[in-house]
């Protein structure tokens, strides 16, 4: 179990009085393996470990900082450098503040929208939801069941096959609300027609924030898929879902590194309340096992 490996190497480092190159290299190898097992992009892991090793061997640890603390601090700094210090909140400036959701099939967009709507409602906002998913059977019904008990207004029309038209009508209907959250059908980078549709939806919605939803269990493809989404419109923020399972969510790290959007929330379950503000410290310690 990798967590144990890392602990053992860290113990070795802890036992050292001064930096021993061999032990440091061993520690870096274990960190590498931890990050790979956490699904961080391979190239990113190789680059990170080069940087970490260079810093660990060239930087003199400050007085009374043990080699172990020194290496851990460097690993930590490099990861925080990628992730950002603390995720900014959803900052509602102009009204209606429009949030456009996008992501791969089954990543958790619709469920997250229910959660986010509740989260914003608790903060005193007046959110509304628009369903533009014309592909998935019962997509509107799913959102209806999520928003109904919260008395959150929802617009959708299962008989309308035009996502753009739905977006236009929904934005228009809710122009008096504080916040409008727009749900879209899942899509991936090989579906060029759906990516084009997303470009058009984004033009119609003219979002104040674009939220990319990433499945916490995704592997090496996270980077490529995130790139494809970022080419349809600027991505403002990321939510990683399904972190209540055993996945570490390293794929999302690669997406952040690639498109530069901060992670704002994580999904930790299927219930409406299972949405947490992103905490880089907890994410990193989970990443390293």
């Amino acid at each position: 179990n990798l967590g144990k490996n890392l602990t053992n190497t860290m113990k070795k480092l802890a036992g050292m009085a001064i930096i021993d190159e061999e032990v440091v290299k061993e520690a870096i190898k274990d960190i590498q393996r931890a990050l790979i097992q956490a699904d961080v992009n391979i190239k990113l892991v190789l680059n990170l470990s080069k940087t970490i090793e260079k810093r660990a061997l060239s930087e003199k640890p400050p007085k009374r900082v043990t080699p172990k603390e020194h290496v851990i601090k460097i690993v930590y700094e490099e990861l925080v450098h990628l992730l950002g210090e603390k995720a900014p909140e959803v900052e509602v400036e102009s009204k209606p503040f429009k949030i456009l959701f996008m992501g791969l099939q089954g990543s958790g967009k619709t469920t997250t929208i229910g959660k986010l709507a509740r989260y914003l409602q608790k903060k005193g906002f007046n959110p509304a939801v628009v369903c533009t998913d014309t592909w998935r059977p019962a997509a509107y019904e799913q959102l209806r069941q999520l928003t109904e008990s919260l008395s959150i207004p929802l617009y959708g029309d299962p008989d309308n096959e035009d996502a753009l038209d739905l977006a236009k009508k929904g934005i228009n209907k809710f122009k008096k609300q504080d916040i409008i959250i727009v749900d879209t059908a899942g899509r991936h980078k090989e579906e060029q027609d759906l990516l084009d549709e997303m470009k058009q939806i984004s033009t119609v919605v003219d979002p104040d924030e674009v939220m990319l939803v990433i499945d916490g269990t995704i592997g090496q493809q996270a980077r490529e898929q995130a790139l494809a989404f970022s080419q349809t419109t600027d991505i403002g923020s990321i939510t990683i879902t399904k972190l209540d399972g055993s996945a570490k969510g390293g794929g999302a790290l690669s997406a952040v590194a690639e498109i530069g959007a901060p992670i704002k929330f994580i999904g930790t379950g299927e219930r409406i309340e299972d949405l947490e503000a992103f905490d880089p410290d907890r994410f990193i310690s989970r990443l390293l096992g």
């Binding site: 791969l104 089954g106 958790g108 592909w135 019904e141 799913q142 090989e190 399904k242 570490k248």
Partner: protein
């Protein structure tokens, strides 16, 4: 001359990298590379330049061996069920959002086209819109769906579906279950209960082909809980390199039966180990 460990170092490193970048889980990639190394060290070669080619062949061989697992022939079993007058029961399990419901509708469509009459069991009684989603598919395919109200006992729905299939001489029952994290003990127990009550002939794990290292945990825990008879990997059309197939195959030694390659009813293909070799070696 014979191949030495030193000869292999660089080429094996590159190979491991391509496995990892292809979404093969780390522990599986390491084990595969180790077995390739053991296979090659000490082998006689004519020229040093032959090492790369020998290594590629050894890797292809290792991949094929992992994936060549004898699996159930669902069509043959369905035909036997028809003869015996006893429905073949398939239960579909996996974590949230992998494509279970969509995959069931694809398989149902396939068997309808072959003259069978499947029955669907809406045993996801929890998620918003779940019953409506599968009902919509049943209506499109013009097949019977057995469903209760939201929040009902999933095992009871599955049981009713089997009873209906028996009474009406329908050959196939597809049981759709809710997505669940293998770390959620209550939900894993719920799944075991469905299995106890209904005793499915086949338990099929539906995984997302884009999944990374976690697929090892998922497949292992689901296999430990209910025993898997086959695997279906979905969303292979997303340009998934599909290393998850190799990881699962290695770890639970169960056959990958099908690949989901899109969201339409026809978007399902038989899994062939050659596909995996093609993915890894481009």
């Amino acid at each position: 001359k014979t191949i030495s460990q030193g000869d292999l170092e660089d080429v094996l490193f590159e190979l491991e990298l391509s496995l990892l970048e292809g979404d093969v889980a780390l522990e599986v990639a390491e084990k595969i590379i180790k077995s390739v190394e053991n296979d090659l060290v000490g082998r006689k070669i004519k020229r040093r330049s032959d090492v790369a080619l020998h290594t590629q062949d050894a890797l292809k061989k290792a991949i094929s061996e992992i994936l060549m697992v004898k699996g159930p022939n669902v069509m043959a079993l369905a035909q036997e069920a028809r003869k015996a007058g006893e429905p073949l029961k398939l239960m579909f399990v996996g974590i949230n959002g992998t494509g279970k419901t969509t995959t069931i509708s694809k398989l149902a469509d396939y068997f309808v086209s072959k003259g069978f009459t499947p029955v669907l069991a809406a045993s996801d009684t929890f998620r918003a819109g779940a019953i409506e989603q599968i009902t919509h598919h049943a209506e499109n395919l013009k097949i019977k769906i057995i469903k209760h109200q939201k929040g009902a006992d999933p095992a009871a729905v599955a049981y009713d579906a089997v009873e209906h299939a028996r009474a009406q001489k329908k050959e196939l029952v597809f049981i759709d279950t809710a997505g669940r994290m293998q770390t959620n003990t209550n939900l894993m127990d719920e799944m075991k209960k469905i299995q106890r009550v209904v005793k499915p002939d086949l338990v099929i794990f539906v995984g997302d082909a884009l999944t990374g290292n976690d697929v090892v945990e998922q497949a292992t825990k689901f296999n430990d809980a209910v025993g898997l008879d086959g695997i279906i990997l979905t969303k292979a059309d997303a340009d998934a390199k599909g290393g998850a197939a190799l990881s699962i195959g290695y770890v639970v030694q169960k056959p990958i039966l099908f690949l989901g390659v899109g969201q339409g009813y026809k978007d399902i293909i038989e899994f062939k180990p050659d596909w995996m070799v093609e993915q890894i070696f481009g």
